[in-house]
Symmetry: C2
Subunit: 340 residues, 2 copies
C-alpha cells in the first residue's frame, strides 16, 4: 500500500470538504442564504428606508417592546408572547392575552427573532412589514386590547418617553404609528446568526456530518420549496398542500383545503415549541414527519427524520445581548391600567 | 461692613454644610441608614449564611426569576408582578395572576428592590426571609398556581437547568426549596443605592435644599417611627394607627381596627404607584397626607407635603444592570403549560 494513514486522513478530509462545498452550492441553488456577517450588508437587508434604524430608535423601541403599559391592563407587553428569553415566543399552544383570552383561531405566537427576513407577517400574511404588524397585537381584543388613543395617551404622559421621542423625531410628536415604528426598528435588530450561517459562508466544519446529512435530506425532499431564503420561511404557501393536516383545531385553518399560510421560520426552531400555526405538536421529529406527509406527500424514514432534526437544531443562532430596560416612570396623569 | 461677598458665600455654605451634617446626625438617631457603599459591608448585610450568595447561584436565580414556566400556565414569571423595569412592581392596584384572577384581598404587589433589607416579607409579615417568601407566589392559586412537584419536574426536564444546578449544588439535586433559594439569592442582589445614601454617607450636596427640608419634615413628624432602617420600612406596625384608613377595599385589612401590617419600603417610591397594601391611591403627595392623618394624626401643610414628596422622590436608586437571560430550552418531556 502506498497510502499512509496520514494521507488517508487527508483524502477523507478533502472529500468531506469537497462534499461540504457541493452541499453549500446546492443549498444556495435552492434559495438558502446565510445572514450576512458583514455589518453593512446586514444593515442594508434589515433597514426600512421609510423607518430608518437609529441607535436612539432601537433604544426607544426596546423600552416600548418590554412595556406592559402598552396593553389596556398594564400587564401584557410584546415580550409576554414574544419572549426574547424563550426563542422569541411564549411556549404555549394558542396565544393567551387580555383577560386570559385564548386566540379565537387557536393561533400560536410566532417568533420575533429573524422576523425581519420574512416577506409576510401574521399567519395569514396580511402585513408585509413589521411596522404594520406591530400595530395589530396592541389593538387586538384577545391580545393587548389597547386603543391607539389610550396607547398614545399613556406614552405621552411620561416625561421619560417624551424625552426619548424628542431624541428620535425632531418634532417630538408621539403617535401610535411612531410607537409601532419604534418597536419595529427594535425588532429589525433581532437577528440570530449561528453555525448554519458560518457553514453557508464557507466554514465546512461549522456543521457536523449528521447535521450536513440532515441538510441534504432537507434539500432533496423539497422542504426548501417553502422553507427558503435567509429566514427559511416567511412566504405565503398553500397549506395543507398534499394531504389533510390532522392536527387542526376548531376555528383555525381547517386543514381540509388549500389555504395560504405564512411559512414559519425554521431558525431557532428547537426553542419555539409547540409547532404549527395552531401550536398543536410538541415534538420536532414528529413535526418534521407531519410536514413531509402533509406538504410533500413523502414518508420520511426514521433516519431521515433524525438527521433532519439534527440539522434543524443546528439552526439555533446567537441572540443579541439585551440589557433589560428601565422604563419611564408613570405619572399621576398617566391613564390607569384597566384589567376589564 | 467687614464681610466681603466671598466670605458671606463661604459662611452660608458652611452653615448649610453644618445644617446638613446636623440633619444626617438626626437621621441616624432616628434609625435611618444608608446602603453601605463598601462592597464587603454590603455583602455581609445581604448574604444569608444558610443560603450563601455565589455568582453561579445569582445567575441561576436570575433565569428562574424571569422564567414563566415556573407558573402552571407558563405565562407568569416572578418578573410579571415584580417587574424590574417598573421599580420592581406591576403598576396595577390588586395583583393579577393565574386565569386573570385578582388578589382576593385586593393586595398590591410590593417591590422586590431592596426587599432584602426588610425584616418581614408579605403584607402580613408571615415570612422573615426571601427564601421562604419566594415559595409563596409560585404556589398561590391566584398567582403562579404551580405545585412544588410540577415546578420541580419542569425545571428538572431541561438540560440547561440541570447543568446550572450542578454548577451551584455539588449533588446537582433540583428541589422546590432550591428553586426558591436561588431566586432569593438573585433578589438579594437587587439593591439600589442613590443620592440619599450618598447624603447619609457625608455628601451634603447629594440632596437639594428642598429634599433636605423634606427629610427634616419626615423626621420631625415621626414618619421614621415606622419608616426606618436601610429600607425605610420592612417591620410590622399597627395600621391604621390613629384614624381609620378611608381607602379600604372589600376583603383587605379592614381599616377599622389596628391590624399589624408590613411597612413598605419608601425606596424608589416614585416608581411604585399605586400606593398602600391595597393599591388604591395613585398620587404620592396624597399618599403622604393620608399617612400623616391615619398613622400620626397629623395634618400636613401643602408645603410640608410638597417638601416631603420631593424628599421621597430623591429615594430613587440606581438599579443593577440586568442582561435579559436566555432561558434553558424546553424538551419534549417538559410538562406542558396548562392555562386552566
Amino acid at each position: 500500500m502506498k497510502y499512509t494513514l496520514m494521507s488517508i486522513v487527508a483524502i477523507v478530509a478533502l472529500s468531506t470538504l469537497g462534499s461540504a462545498n457541493d452541499l453549500v452550492d446546492q443549498a444556495k441553488k435552492v434559495g438558502l442564504e446565510p445572514i450576512p456577517s458583514d455589518k453593512q450588508a446586514l444593515m442594508k437587508l434589515i433597514d426600512n428606508p421609510k423607518n430608518p434604524i437609529t441607535d436612539a430608535k432601537i433604544e426607544l423601541g426596546k423600552k416600548l417592546y418590554f412595556d406592559p403599559r402598552l396593553s389596556k391592563s398594564g400587564l401584557i407587553s410584546c415580550n409576554t408572547c414574544h419572549n426574547l428569553g424563550l426563542g422569541g415566543t411564549d411556549g404555549v399552544g394558542a396565544a393567551i392575552g387580555h383577560k386570559w383570552t385564548a386566540n379565537p383561531h387557536h393561533l400560536n405566537s410566532p417568533t420575533v427573532y429573524n422576523a425581519v427576513f420574512m416577506r409576510s407577517q401574521f399567519w395569514d400574511g396580511r402585513d408585509p412589514h413589521l411596522e404594520q404588524q406591530a400595530q395589530g397585537p396592541m389593538q387586538a381584543a384577545p391580545e393587548m386590547a389597547i386603543s391607539p388613543e389610550l396607547a398614545t395617551q399613556r406614552i405621552s404622559s411620561m416625561p421619560g418617553y417624551v424625552e426619548a421621542f424628542k431624541g428620535v423625531y425632531s418634532d417630538g410628536k408621539i403617535t401610535f404609528e411612531r410607537i409601532a415604528d419604534s418597536i419595529a426598528v427594535f425588532e429589525r435588530t433581532l437577528v440570530t446568526p449561528g453555525r448554519y450561517d458560518a457553514f453557508l459562508s464557507g466554514d465546512s466544519k461549522a456543521l457536523s456530518a449528521e447535521e450536513q446529512s440532515g441538510l441534504r435530506v432537507f434539500i432533496d425532499k423539497g422542504c426548501t420549496s417553502c422553507h427558503s431564503g435567509i429566514a427559511l420561511g416567511g412566504t405565503m404557501q398553500p397549506f395543507p398542500a398534499v394531504k389533510p393536516f390532522k392536527h387542526a383545531n376548531v376555528g383555525d385553518f381547517k386543514g381540509d383545503k388549500n389555504s395560504m399560510v405564512k411559512v414559519p421560520t425554521l431558525r431557532n426552531i428547537n426553542e419555539t415549541t409547540p409547532y404549527f400555526h395552531n401550536g398543536t405538536v410538541w415534538d420536532l421529529a414528529e413535526a418534521v414527519k407531519i410536514m413531509g406527509e402533509t406538504q410533500l406527500g413523502v414518508t420520511l424514514t426514521e433516519q431521515e427524520a433524525v438527521s433532519m432534526t439534527a440539522f434543524l437544531k443546528a439552526l439555533e443562532g446567537k441572540k443579541p445581548e439585551i440589557i433589560y430596560p428601565q422604563l419611564p416612570v408613570s405619572q399621576t396623569g398617566t391613564p390607569q391600567p384597566d384589567s376589564n
